[in-house]
Subunit: 424 residues, 2 copies
């Protein structure tokens, strides 16, 4: 067995052992552990900023895009909100042990569907360092051990955060000698396929990031995978939206520009205008966006209404820009809008702006997306905004969990069936 194989085997076994301990940990112990982590993050603020500075300087040397460097950066405010994030997860209702359903059958058998942890989670992610503390906290809350593999650009920051977590957990007696949170402290790519073969120890792999990462994970994984693609999100402006001009303009600007650099999966990438309202609304929405330094790319009909736009190419419609770029297009009907979204979208989050309830119902029923927004910005697709607390990510899969995933989505259930000597 080579060294890398030895290493991943040890990581897997360590996680499995910790998961067995975590599964039966009391809620109070988990809360105490998370509070210790939050306190550690605050106490080690300077250490975090120093480690992060190394990542930032490496990123600048590597000439990463400014928006990506911005995402990477830790400052006092962001560190405080990491700590608050962990505290909020601590205070959530404990999902473990919940009875999802419970009833007595006619023969007297009591049937109970009881929530239990998944076991061991293998989590791949990129850039933002706060994801490290969020993911660790969510996994602890839901009774899972986690193996973290962060992006190499946040390597030093992730290492510093994980050290704080280890230090905090050392003080938890029930976890003595256990490592519920492990960071892969190597950027060697050869580790990834080896990790993905550890279905003996790992219950689920969650890749959150770019398409190439996710394809690699899906191809190699022998355990189930929950994919977190970034989103190619749409807003469709219905023919019935003429009377809500103000809201249309606000929602479009918010959906595109409210996150710095537009570099977030729930930002809108393409806006579809029904032909009956395009003359009125398209130029205003596009001008609002252009005023915010968004590059507008339009189809042929859009260019007539907003000549300042660049001509979109066929490749634009399937593209997730993750930048201040938006594609606009005029459609002939609601059906055409739905067909476009189902063909080119990534089934993440898509919105309709409309007053016609029939159009709204049809859009909601027919758009095959994890989140369908009605008269609201796509930016609301988020675990916090949905009231789940922090999220481990936004699943673009249909099985197990779809859309924002909170602590409860990191659990499964077991059936507990109680009789008094029942035979069938």
């Amino acid at each position: 067995m080579d060294d890398l194989q030895q290493y991943v085997e040890t990581v897997g076994k360590t996680a499995r052992a910790a998961s067995q301990k975590l599964a039966t940990l009391s809620g109070a112990t988990k809360i105490a552990a998370l509070q210790r982590i939050a306190a550690g993050i605050r106490a080690r603020r300077q250490q975090l900023i120093d480690a992060n500075a190394k990542d930032i300087s490496a990123a600048q040397k590597a000439e990463l895009a400014p928006a990506l460097i911005e995402r990477l950066k830790l400052n006092d405010k962001r560190i405080e909100s990491m700590a608050i994030g962990v505290e909020q997860i601590a205070q959530q209702v404990d999902p473990v042990g919940q009875t999802i359903e419970g009833y007595v059958r006619p023969n007297g058998l009591r049937i109970e569907k009881r929530r239990v942890p998944l076991g061991v989670v293998l989590f791949f992610y990129e850039s933002r360092p706060n994801v490290t503390s969020d993911a660790a906290a969510l996994c602890i809350k839901s009774g899972n051990a986690v193996i973290l593999r962060g992006g190499k650009e946040a390597f030093e920051s992730n290492r510093a955060i994980t050290r704080i977590i280890h230090e905090a957990l050392t003080g938890v007696t029930a976890l003595a000698g256990m490592s519920p949170v492990q960071l892969i402290e190597s950027t060697d790519r050869a580790l990834v396929p080896k990790l993905l073969k550890l279905d003996k120890y790992i219950d689920v792999a969650i890749p959150r990031g770019g398409e190439s990462l996710i394809r690699a994970v899906v191809q190699d994984a022998t355990m189930p995978v929950l994919k977190h693609f970034t989103g190619n999100c749409h807003i469709y402006i219905d023919r019935s939206a003429g009377s809500m001009q103000e809201q249309v303009r606000n929602v479009c600007v918010n959906a595109k520009t409210s996150y710095p650099g537009g570099a977030v999966c729930n930002a809108v990438e393409h806006i579809l205008f029904h032909k009956d309202v395009a003359a009125e609304l398209l130029p205003k929405v596009c001008k609002d966006l252009a005023d915010k330094k968004v590059e507008v790319r339009g189809d042929e009909r859009s260019l007539k209404y907003f000549p300042a736009a660049k001509a979109a190419t066929a490749d634009d419609w399937g593209t997730e820009y993750l930048a201040f770029i938006v594609g606009v297009k005029v459609v002939d009907s609601l059906d055409d809008a739905i067909a476009h979204i189902n063909e080119f979208g990534s089934h993440h989050t898509d919105a309709i702006l409309a007053t016609d309830t029939t159009a709204i119902d049809q859009f909601v029923a027919s758009v095959d997306s994890a989140s369908v927004m009605v008269n609201a910005s796509t930016r609301f697709a988020d675990g916090g905004e949905y009231g789940l607390g922090a999220e481990i990510g936004i699943s673009t899969d249909k099985l197990h969990a779809r859309g924002p995933m909170g602590a409860a989505d990191l659990t499964t259930y077991k059936w507990v069936v109680t009789g008094d000597g029942h035979t069938r």
Copy 2:
């Protein structure tokens, strides 16, 4: 593109088109469609028996095990229960459109988690022909199109059932020109890997059957897989079970022998006796089983209490016999029983017989199985017995659905978020 590839592409596209129609079908239309299928099964009884006779005669020529031939057989009673099964599925509450959760956020956004069909299900299964009508009915009820790949030993029976379904659905106007239920009418094994690459059209693959089938599916599938392994189920008889001798004997006999030939996944395969009750209970339970023609294989200590047993080998503990064979073993403690079950079991269904509530709680919390039975036969692990109606199978996976899977487990959800121009 070769002929087989062409064929599977057509099957995939046809299923995808049907699924889009099925997703918005009214509950009444689905009920009517299922009732037509039930009526068709009754009307074509003789046709089914004739087709089944061909399978039975082929199975006899191929010298299949008598228990397998018994499972394959259709008679008046079994055909009537197929029809009743479809009618019961028709009468279930429609899972599609259900609001799983719904609430209003402080900012006034209404958040709703709404149940929707998965889309297209690819289902692999073996032997029993009633699985064909159950699976088709469950998929229609839950708004999914299904591609069926049954075992070759039931080929003629499955073909006859599917023809009845097609005939019945021809009368449903809303499904005109659609094929929601397709049977792969070829036993060519080369089709399987090709089907498993159709993630463009198929949302989930569900293999239900032997280990080699499931391994092949997991290895080749590019879509998510829900595995339905057969079960290596255990009963653990605790030291506190001495006062419930009658129940212990009944449950053990029931769990092993109530299904013909023991050829069912929820039959018990191994019984563990706590050392403190082994002298009293082991000989009685083993004699009861031997009287029912069950072959008993015991570890060294068991042989002392029941010398008529064969000596078990190390291979026995991981074996799912699916036959009238049982392995018995004496364990030193509850912990040893739990460790044995978690190591050798298949995480399907495991039971404890005990009066001590502390032991029961520990067993329930620590045994990592889809169903944990307390003082009840393992044979209850079944969708019908849990009140789910018919089941598509019993999932041994942890993600999405665990244990018996009914119609609701063939759905996912979408988040529907409604505002009045909300921005973030």
